[in-house]
């Protein structure tokens, strides 16, 4: 039987030579059913063209570094099986809505900046002395924020968001989900420090609920939910007389 093969088109862009990115086609063996798109890229790099650049690390959907557009949809390439596409060809492009550094590698500076802006750590008005012991939490209290803490910062949600694509100032899905993760944490007291970033016009109010961020999220974080809940929250704090209470 003839060897099974699959065509993979990948974006190539060399900032030193190319004006704009172009697609290059590779015909590679589809050797076993468990192959994912990342395996295909690794095959190209090892056997066809060593200059192909892309990011990856864990190969198991945890590190969040291998996100790319596969046939127009943002996906983790380590989690996208060739068998779901074959015999069709596969087009792999860098994540939408980000500047392209080289080939399939995007510049994530903007996202890093946004993550930092919502202060993703536990903020206390007054730290307990270490000897006072741990901050205890019940299972119910953990369930309040657990979903939003599953984010692996893969940026697929940003690539899926046309609002972010049209206006890069928008805080965006994952950063808001992470802010909510801390705001809902019973140990955290930093909501007032995060509100100026969240309730800003480039914050949650820029979102007009396309909802695609939650569709593409590989971890079930549902950032769209985090954004809509934050809208309700900030409004309540604004309109209710006790809404600005200290917590």
């Amino acid at each position: 039987m003839a060897e099974k093969r699959i065509t993979v088109r990948a974006t190539r862009f060399d900032p030193a030579k190319d004006k704009a990115p172009r697609l290059q086609s590779y015909d590679i063996p589809f050797a076993d059913e468990s192959m994912v798109v990342l395996d295909a890229l690794n095959h190209i790099k090892a056997h066809v063209d060593g200059s192909l650049s892309y990011r990856w690390s864990c190969r198991m959907g945890i590190c969040g570094s291998c996100g790319m557009m596969i046939n127009g949809i943002p996906k983790l390439t380590c989690n996208a099986f060739l068998r779901d596409y074959w015999p069709r060809s596969i087009t792999v492009e860098p994540l939408n809505n980000f500047p392209i550094v080289r080939d399939l590698v995007i510049d994530m500076e903007d996202f890093m900046h946004k993550l930092k802006s919502i202060k993703p750590w536990i903020i206390r008005k007054q730290e307990y002395p270490l000897g006072a012991g741990e901050h205890r939490q019940t299972m119910d209290q953990i369930d309040e924020f657990r979903q939003f803490s599953e984010c692996i910062n893969c940026m697929l949600c940003y690539a899926a968001c046309p609002v972010y694509g049209l206006n890069n100032e928008f805080l965006g899905p994952a950063a808001t989900a992470l802010a909510r993760r801390y705001d809902l944490d019973s140990r955290d007291q930093g909501i007032k420090e995060r509100l100026p970033v969240l309730a800003n016009s480039e914050g949650v109010w820029e979102c007009s609920f396309v909802g695609e961020c939650s569709v593409v999220c590989p971890k079930g974080v549902d950032p769209a939910k985090a954004i809509q809940q934050t809208k309700l929250d900030t409004t309540m704090r604004f309109v209710l007389p006790y809404g600005n209470r200290e917590e």
Binding site: F13, P15, A16, K19, A20, P21, G72, N96, N97, P99, I100, V101, R102, D107, E109, P162, G165, L166, S208, F209, V210, G211, E212, V215, D222, A224, K225, Q228, Q229, K231, L232
Partner: protein, 137 residues
């Protein structure tokens, strides 16, 4: 195209890398069903606003009493109204369905929350209809 780069990377030995900034294609909303439905939902606001402006105008016209007032009855207006009604229903449906995402009450499934929103909507519509019919008598 714009040259961007991390501030940290921008020292003299490592000039910031030249990057390619892609533009969103004009037809981005035609590329995916979800985007398309979203644009339709957002677009429905426009004819609805027009219809409501028209309503304000009619109210102003009717403010001199029933004498000499004829409500608009051209077929074109009726067709436009029916289309706008469909838009309004679609808009309401998407908006009320959102309640399940936004409102979060412990122990209450989100479907129940959505159902309660639709029930409240039906009750409110019935009350308004009753009041209007009462006035018309």
């Amino acid at each position: 195209m714009k040259a961007l780069g991390g501030a940290e990377a921008a020292d003299s030995t490592h000039p910031p890398p030249r990057v390619y900034k892609p533009e969103m294609p004009r037809g981005w909303w035609l590329r995916q069903r979800h985007y398309f439905l979203y644009i339709i939902r957002e677009f429905t606001a426009l004819p609805m606003a027009l219809w409501l402006l028209w309503l304000l105008y009619e109210i102003q016209r009717a403010s001199n009493g029933p004498k000499g007032y004829y409500p608009p009855s051209s077929p074109a207006f009726i067709v436009f109204s029916i289309i706008v009604l469909a838009f309004a229903l679609y808009h309401t449906y998407t908006f009320l369905s959102l309640a399940g995402v936004i409102i979060h009450i412990k122990g209450v499934p989100s479907r129940l929350i959505v159902l309660s929103q639709f029930a409240a909507w039906l009750v409110a519509s019935a009350v308004i209809a009753a009041v209007l019919i009462g006035f018309a008598r």
